[in-house]
Structure formats: C-alpha cells, structure tokens
C-alpha cells in the first residue's frame, strides 16, 4: 500500500530507521544484562511509529518526546547525541544528570524528556502558546504513552490547547500497557475519542504500519498548522519487551507479538519492501550488516567514553551559586 507521495527512498529510509532502532535496542538490552548500562527502556514494537514521527516532523517543528522515543530521537538529534546521553558521557549535553533516553536539545527544538508521566504536556502547550505569540513557524508535537492519558496533565493540556487554539499535535504511543496495567483498564473510551470532549479532532491509526502512520502524522501536522487547532492521534502499537530493564512482563501478561511475528512492525515493513520489490534479499542483508557494524562500533566508542566528574555536580542549579552551594562544593569528598 505504498501511496504515491511516498517515494522509494522514503521507504528505504524508514526501513533503515527501523533496523537501526531495533539493532541498537537489542544491543543496549544486552549491554544492560552484562552490567555496563545501569538502566534501559526497551523500544521494541515502537519502531515503525518512531520512524514515522522522525520523518514526518520538520526541523521547524518543536518535538517534545517522552522516554520511549529512541528512534524518533535519533531521527531528530542524531545517533551521536543520543548515545552521548545514553552512556552519561562527558559529551552529554546534560552532563549525565538524567537517565538514559531523557534527552534535551534546545538547538534542535527538542524539549527535555521528563520521567513524570504526562508532566511535559502542559509545557508543550506553553511552547505552542509561545510559538503562536511570537509567530514562529512550525507546530509542537508531543508524544506520550497510553498511561499518560489518565494524568491530569493530559486533560489540562488538551483543554488549554483547544481554548487558546494552539498549534500542537498530541501523539499517544498507545502500546496497550502502562507497566502491568492494560489500556482497557486505563480508560473505558477509545483514546482518540477523548479529543472530541475538548473540541478538536482525534484520529486512531495503526502505529505498527509505517506508511499509514507517516501519512497520518504528516497530514495532521499540516492540518494543525492550517486549522490552528490541536489534533490528537492515538497510534496503536505494542510494547514487545519489558517496560524497563527492571520489569518482568511474565508476571502480568502473555506477550502476544514476538520478534519476527507477522505483526512485528519490522516484519510488516520488510514484507512490504520485498513485495514491492524495493530491495532484494541481498540489499536487505547488506543494510542489516552495515547498521549492525555501525551500532557495534558506536556503542563501544560511547561506552568507553569518560563520564562527567564530581566537579560538575553543582553547575547550573541557579544562574549564580548561592553561598550554601559554594560551601557544599567544598564538602564533596
């Protein structure tokens, strides 16, 4: 179902993004098990959606991701930036101050990922207000999980953004689980329908199908811009792995999509590519090998990189250090 305005190159690009995210994700999980990465948030299952988000957003759009956006982040700020943060290196923009995947990049219009579920949605709304007030081009795109739809922040953000007609696109990465809590218990109404209660459009899409997700997000961005009203997308996907490396999903569910299954988003896009004869088997395996090599090399490089030292501990708590910060700096042992 490749539609006319998606070129072969776009599909190949998306496929590469999916492979990169999957390969890196598995690599990082492995490294965590070996004890070299203290914590990780698996992304398996979200790859097609992340590729769609990464490719649909324009540089002028402000991206406010959540913690499970590995592929969208890489598309936006690059592999180097993401790995520098992932391994809390001295090259990390944030000096290792937050957990893996909690990126922030003002220069690239990316808001700081916040652990508090839903906690960024009002800030995203504020960025949208500011964009409108300052007549900046582009819109704000905020992502979050299905669990976040129960937070007050989600509802207040939906309401405020509609009240002030703000240019913001809410994308719910509905992976059907909030740790152990299934989406059918999280809410008794389709997530996309919630938009209507606030006076704007909600759309439900198959987040595991790159082409559908890419079109929907691209169109939604244009429609938000044109209609100066928010839009909510419920992108249905599936968290194929554990919630985090501290989680054991066998305690609360039977995993229904496993790697390589027909519903695995990687399988879906790979089958499309083969069926449309965009790439042959050899080209596919070349891509996989090439990306595998890059991932191994880059991960090793960042894994070995120096970490910020204790002298950085007190930087940037305020613009100027209060007297007690100066005292406490002297107390570090």
């Amino acid at each position: 179902m490749i539609e006319e305005d998606i070129s072969k190159d776009d599909i190949i690009n998306a496929y590469r993004n999916v492979i990169l995210e999957r390969t890196l994700d598995k690599k990082l999980l492995g490294i965590n098990r070996q004890g070299f990465l203290p914590f990780y948030i698996p992304n398996m299952g979200h790859e097609a959606l992340h590729a769609a988000i990464g490719m649909a957003l324009r540089d002028i759009d402000f991206f406010y991701p959540y913690y499970r956006d590995l592929g969208s982040d890489i598309a936006r700020v690059g592999l180097d930036f993401v790995l520098a943060q992932m391994f809390s290196t001295e090259k990390d923009n944030e000096l290792g101050r937050d957990m893996p995947l909690h990126i922030s990049n003002k220069a690239k219009n990316v808001g700081p990922v916040i652990t508090t579920v839903g906690g960024h949605l009002m800030a995203a709304t504020g960025v949208a207000y500011s964009h409108k007030y300052q007549k900046k081009p582009g819109i704000v795109v905020a992502t979050f999980g299905d669990g976040a739809t129960s937070t007050p922040d989600f509802h207040v953000a939906m309401n405020f953004s509609a009240v002030y007609s703000l240019p913001i696109l809410f994308i719910c990465e509905n992976n059907q689980w909030a740790i152990s809590y299934p989406v059918e218990d999280q809410t008794k109404v389709e997530i996309s329908k919630k938009a209507e209660a606030y006076g704007f459009t909600g759309i439900k899409i198959d987040g595991n199908n790159f082409v559908e997700a890419y079109h929907a997000i691209k169109n939604a961005i244009l429609n938000v811009e044109k209609g100066s009203m928010p839009i909510l997308i419920d992108a249905v996907t599936y968290r194929m792995g554990p919630h985090t490396t501290a989680d054991d999903p066998n305690k609360y569910r039977k995993t229904i999509i496993n790697e390589g299954d027909p519903l695995d988003p990687l399988t879906i896009i790979e089958n499309d590519i083969k069926r449309m004869k965009i790439l042959n088997d050899e080209e596919i395996s070349n891509i996989k090998n090439e990306i595998n090599d890059t991932v191994s090399k880059e991960v090793e490089r960042y894994e070995k990189m120096n970490k910020p030292g204790k002298e950085t501990l007190f930087k940037n708590i305020y613009e100027n250090d209060p007297w007690y910060i100066t005292e406490e700096r002297g107390e570090i042992q």
Partner: protein
C-alpha cells in the same frame, strides 16, 4: 514618587515591565477583565490585550505548566496563583519542572518566570485562604523564594524577579496588600534578590522576620523601646546569611518571627545557620515565634498568628537569659 499601597505598587511593576519587554506575559485565573481577585492586574488587560494578559481555565497545573513551556521558548511569563492555598495541584510542575529544568538540562533550557501568589492570613480566610507554605518552596533546590513587606520593596523586587533568569516564587503577604502605603518611584528600579534589609538598628537582640510579620515586629520593637536589630529577610532562598550572622555576632541574641508554622520551617533553617556559624557569640538560646502547627483556623486566627505578647515574651526571655 507616588504614595501607593502594595497592590498598586505591584500593578505598577507589572505595567513597567509589560511596557519595557514584549516577552513579559501575565497568566492566571480572572486576571484579565477582572484584574485579579485582589486587583493586582487591574487595567493591564485593557492596555496590553488578551495575548499578554491571559485569563485561564480553572487549573493551577495548567497555569504553571503553560508558563514553564513559555519560559522554555524565550518568554518571561508571570503566572498568578489566586491564593497560595490552591497551588498544590501545580506542585508537580513547580517541584519537578520549574525547579529542575535548568539543572537537569545543564542550562540548555532556563526558566525565567515569576510565580506570583498571595499568602498568609489577615483576611478571615480560614484554612484555605490563609496558608503560609513558603517552606515547601524554600526547601526545593532550583527555586528562588522572595517576599516583600512594603510597597517600595514589592515593586523593585518584582522587577528584579522578572529580570532574573532563575524561576522565582514571589510570595505576596496579602495582609499587607492595602494596609500600608509608602512612596514608590514611578519609574523602573530594582530591589536586589538575596539581600536582607536592616530596618531598625540596635545592640541587644536581633529580630529576624519577613513578609507579613515585618510591620508587626517593627511596631512591637518601637513601642516597647527595644534596642534591637530588625532584619527583613526579603529573600528566603537564598537568604542573606551575612546580614543575619553579622548582626547576631554583635547582639548575641536572636529571635525569629514568622507567620508560617514552626516545625521544619524557615525559622529552623535560619536558626541552624546561626548555630553553625555563630554559636560562640550566642548569649541565649535562639527562639522562634511562629504560627501554630495546626491548619489556619477560621474564627480563632488571632491566636494562631504571632502577636505583640508572644513576640515580647520571646524578646524578654532572650534578653534576661
């Protein structure tokens, strides 16, 4: 110079900064046409329009959260929380984002915003219009917490806060909104953040106070001819350690007066700092005169808030120790 009460002085500061800087935006419940329930934003909507003086739906979380996003994107928002008592649904925004974004992003994003809110008693407001919960905010790294005690300081301190690149909690003692007037310059001026003022000078005892209790402490000291240093902290975090310590070293005695409850409050921090840095100079225990450790009562508020008798008891105790 114009003689003004604190509400007028705050209004004047906001007007001054709205006029000076297009990035300043006011946001809060009923602040536009209505001018806010205490009238602090009166007339500003008519002058600057609904894009810059923004009335909001009824959500404190929304008001603070939206301001955080505005500040991240280069504006200088000034959210108003109608009463401090209603701030708690925004607590996560304040503690997890407003306070931490600069540190967490190592300064990639900064939040030049001023959260204004009336606090304390004096209006027979009962438990939900009278709270003094400054300690919650003063305890949170990343927030600056200030509170003026007169119209002159209110205007200059608000201008300093708006121009600060740190997020500021600007706590307005509502019992002083209309009760005192003084001469306020018509133009732009600043009162420095982090600097206390010695409003009376004396050698026998140091009284340390701030915000709503300043006029009371001052009048008690004057009326009873106490030879006291009276320090108005103005900034709670980071408080002016030097002014406090230098005074206590000279007088050897300290009494701290605040309207907020005693347990784990601002007075405890000041007291501990004095003990750490000047214990050899002390000639008496440090005493605190504070609000009681109960919710603010509706009809018996006068027994909750420090009064002349309680302040004099403490002063006499340390002087005669």
């Amino acid at each position: 110079m114009t003689e003004m009460n604190m509400v007028k002085a705050l209004n004047n500061a906001l007007d001054t900064m709205l006029d000076k800087d297009k990035s300043v935006i006011l946001i809060g419940e009923d602040i536009a046409k209505d001018g806010g329930v205490f009238r602090v934003t009166d007339g500003l909507y008519a002058k600057y329009g609904d894009e810059r003086v923004v009335s909001t739906p009824l959500s404190e979380l929304g008001i603070v959260g939206m301001s955080i996003g505005m500040a991240m994107d280069g504006l200088r928002p000034i959210p108003e929380i109608q009463f401090l008592d209603f701030i708690y649904t925004a607590m996560d925004q304040i503690v997890s984002q407003m306070a931490k974004i600069r540190y967490r992003t190592n300064g990639d994003y900064i939040l030049p915003m001023v959260l204004r809110t009336p606090y304390g008693g004096g209006v027979s407001g009962g438990p939900y219009h009278s709270q003094s919960s400054e300690a919650y905010f003063a305890h949170t790294a990343g927030l600056v917490v200030v509170t003026p005690s007169n119209p002159y300081d209110a205007k200059g301190l608000l201008i300093s806060s708006i121009e600060s690149n740190d997020p500021v909690m600007f706590l307005e003692p509502k019992r002083l909104y209309y009760s005192i007037k003084n001469d306020v310059p018509d133009n732009y001026y600043k009162v420095e953040i982090g600097k206390a003022k010695r409003i009376l000078e004396g050698d026998d005892v140091t009284l340390i106070t701030y915000g709503p209790m300043v006029p009371l402490v001052k009048s008690v000291v004057q009326k009873n001819n106490i030879n006291a240093d009276v320090i108005d902290l103005i900034t709670l975090n980071p408080f002016d350690k030097d002014t406090v310590i230098n005074s206590v070293k000279r007088t050897g005695r300290a009494v701290i007066v605040h309207e907020a409850p005693k347990m784990f409050g601002v007075g405890a921090e000041i007291s501990a700092t004095i003990a750490e840095k000047a214990i050899d100079y002390l000639q008496a225990p440090i005493l605190r005169v504070t609000g009681m450790d109960i919710p603010v009562p509706f009809i018996l508020e006068d027994y909750y808030v420090p009064n002349e008798k309680r302040i004099m008891n403490a002063i006499n105790k340390v002087i005669n120790y």
